[in-house]
Each structure stands twice: as C-alpha cells, then as structure tokens.
C-alpha cells in the first residue's frame, strides 16, 4: 500500500466507521495523497489496518463506488475515477452550507450573536 503516511488518523466514536473510511479516502483524494486512476487499498487491507470487520470496510468503499468516486477493475481492485477530485470538491461545496453554516447559525443564535455581528466576525477573520 502506497504512502503509509496517510491513514494515520484513528477512528473516532462519533461517526459510523464506514462513513469515516469513505471520508478518509475522499480526503486523501483531495489532498493528492491518492491520485486519479490509482488503486486504493483493498477491503481486506483496510480491515487489517483498522482492525475492523471487512464487511464494514466494504460498506465504506461501496459508498464511493455508488457515488462514482471509485470504480472496480475486475480481479485487480478499486481505483479512483478520473474527475473524482472535482466531483468530491463540488459535492462538499454543496454540503458546506448544511454542514457548517447551519451549525454556525444555530450556535450563534443560542448565545445571542446577531446576524450583523456574525458577518462582521467573518469579515474580520478572512
């Protein structure tokens, strides 16, 4: 397996394992740790690495296959599809509002920060 420097994150308890697996792979694709048309670790390799059940690792991989990020080369393994990096970026941009902004707004509201103050804070930090 190429690049043992990645996959150094440990699994957390907050999120489903298989989601963490698929996110880790996506992050690695974004960071150019795995390039397009390169092979990703097999289900068994992932299972061994994280001491998880292979079925769980497979589930994580299958999410990426279903979304088109990975494709299967029969007899060889899973590969990153061309254009996957862009796809992932676009999807994450679309999710950004839901994932981060909503939480930000909820938190701000619950502690009494007005919309104007919020916008000022963002402008200051950028």
């Amino acid at each position: 397996m190429k690049g043992d420097e990645r996959m150094n994150e440990i699994l957390t308890q907050e999120k489903s394992i298989y989601l963490q697996i698929s996110e880790m792979i996506e992050n690695d694709i974004l960071r150019d740790i795995i390039l397009e048309e390169e092979k990703v670790p097999s289900t068994n390799e992932l299972a061994k690495l994280y001491a998880i059940n292979p079925a769980t690792a497979a589930k994580g991989i299958n999410i990426l296959v279903d979304s088109g990020v990975l494709y299967k080369k029969r007899g060889i393994g899973m590969f990153v599809a061309t254009g996957a990096k862009e796809e992932i970026k676009k999807r994450k941009q679309a999710e950004f509002a839901d994932k981060y902004i909503k939480t930000l707004l909820m938190e701000a509201e619950s502690i009494g920060i007005t919309k104007e103050e919020l916008i000022r804070m963002i402008k200051q930090s950028v």
Binding site: Q13, I17, P54, T56
Partner: protein, 293 residues
C-alpha cells in the same frame, strides 16, 4: 435452502424453575463475525453450549445445514465451542500441561491446524510446559483462543475470549481474529462484556437480555439508526412523540432518551435538543441496562 446455516428454533432451556433461555430463534450464516452481547446471566454461555450440542436444550431444535446437531458427528465436525477455562478445573484440565491440552484437542477436533496452534503459542508467549491449572486468567484465555482458532471449524464460538487479557493483548486478539477471518471466511460468534472495543469487529450484533434475543442486526445499520436525544424535557418529548424511547435519564429540567429510528425516519438537531449518534456500548446499556433513577 439451508446453505450450511446454523439455525435454532424456539430454544427453551430451563434450570429448575427458571427459564434461562426463552424461545430463542436464531439464524447464523457462513462467513460472518457475530457479536453476542448481554449482561451476566443473560444466557450467552448457555446459548452457545446448546448451539454446539455440548448441552441439551429443554425444548426446541438446533440444525446445521438442515440436520439436527445433537449427537450428530457430521454436524459437530463443523462446529467448535471453545469455552472459558477456569482454574477450578471443571473443564477437564486436571493436571494437564498446555501442550497436552492442545494435543488432546488436536486428536478430537477433525480439522485441527497444528501449524496455526504452534504459531499462536509462540506469539502469545505461552509456556507450553506449564500446567493449565497454574495459568493466570489471561493465559487461560489465550489457550481458549488458540483452541478456537486452530480448530478451523466453520462455526466457531468463543465465550468471553478476552477475559483477563490486557489491552495490548486484546488488540492483538482482534487482529489475529480478523486475519483468520480474512483467510478462511469462517463464522465466529464471540460473546463479550467488553463491547466497545469489539464492536468494530462484529458484522452483526446479537443482544441477549434475560434469556431472550432482543435484537439481531448489522452493527453499522444499528448504529446508524440509534440516536441519543437530550435537552429540555418538553422539547425532547415533542421530538420523540410516538417513538419508543429507551433508558430515560432525567435531571432537573433536562431529559435524555435513546431511540431507534425506523427506516425513513429522521431527527435533526435543533437549538434546544441535541441529537447524537451512539456507540454500541451506549446502545446496549440503553436497551439492556438498568433504568436510571
């Protein structure tokens, strides 16, 4: 089509007046790692004993590939239940040394893999010449584990295999287990108290509570639909109206409950109510634990 499934139907086991197992129905398939979790006395060991025909059920049947397992050599060739050894010697260790015990196992078990056994003895740093009754709890667990893995049985059961092992050895055990699973695709059923660390290893989890199976589900799917809801009591009640709630925790104006979502149901976090995902241990405690006063 039975496809080498291990199926038990309506198993009842009574000791004296008590029903230790109450109409247990279970279907185990080839090629999966199951976690059997339950409190002390829930009936885990009894269930495993009956599944492996080591003890008879009071009522009900257990079949492997369609044939009953009781006193059936052909079926039993595919099943191995490696029990917890204990120092009192009720498992038959007597004065045997580790080496002799494993040798006895190798004679009786049809598919024994001696290479694997030797390899594991080395990796676990066991002194083969030591008498079993003189071993520490952890080392006894290692012998149990070696027996189970080297048996190469299609259905292998382990009862509290990590009892007495320190955390480093436990992690090593999970790896060894997964390696063997990857190589052979054997089915393993592991009963354990130490739920959280083992949960990553289980493809499916079976929860046994007071002799009944309350849940048998794919671990990831179970965790995907478990939510811990907490916040102001009224808000929590509003959000969980109509749902079955477990393990209600109350403190002052706040309230915490656990729910299991049905397919299609969704709960979103709001300003007043936290919606959190849970780990397997938390779900287990919520479903089987004592009610919070």
């Amino acid at each position: 089509m039975n496809e080498e499934k291990l199926i038990c139907r309506d198993i009842v086991k009574t000791y004296g007046k008590k029903d230790v197992l109450d109409h247990v129905n279970l279907e185990l398939e080839k090629g999966k790692i199951y976690g059997l979790i339950g409190r002390n006395g829930a009936g885990k060991t009894t269930l495993l004993s009956i599944l492996s025909a080591q003890n008879p059920a009071t009522r009900g049947t257990v079949t492997y590939n369609g044939m009953p397992v009781w006193e059936n050599r052909e079926a039993l060739d595919h099943i191995c239940f490696s029990r917890e050894l204990n120092p009192i010697g009720s498992q038959g260790q007597s004065n045997l040394k580790v080496k002799e015990y494993l040798q006895a196992a190798s004679i009786v078990m049809p598919n024994w893999d001696n290479e694997l056994a030797k390899h594991l003895v080395e990796k676990f740093e066991l002194d083969e010449k030591k008498k079993i009754v003189k071993l520490s709890k952890g080392m006894m667990s290692m012998v149990t584990i070696i027996c189970a893995l080297a048996s190469k049985a299609d259905y292998t059961f382990l009862d509290e295999p990590v009892a007495g092992l320190d955390v480093v050895m436990r992690e090593y055990f999970y790896r060894v287990l997964l390696d063997e699973f990857a190589d052979s695709g054997r089915t393993f059923v592991i009963s354990t108290h130490i739920i959280e660390e083992a949960s990553d290893v289980f493809e499916e989890v079976i929860m046994l509570d007071k002799g009944k199976i309350i849940l048998k589900e794919n671990t990831q799917e179970l965790l995907d639909r478990s939510r811990h809801i907490s916040g102001k009591a009224e808000e929590v009640d509003a959000m969980t109206a109509g749902m079955k709630t477990f393990h209600v925790e109350k403190m002052g104006r706040s309230k915490g409950v656990t729910v299991l979502l049905e397919p299609g149901q969704e709960l979103k976090q709001t300003a007043d109510v936290s919606v959190q995902q849970m780990n397997l241990q938390q779900v287990f405690v919520a479903l089987c634990g004592k009610e919070v006063e």
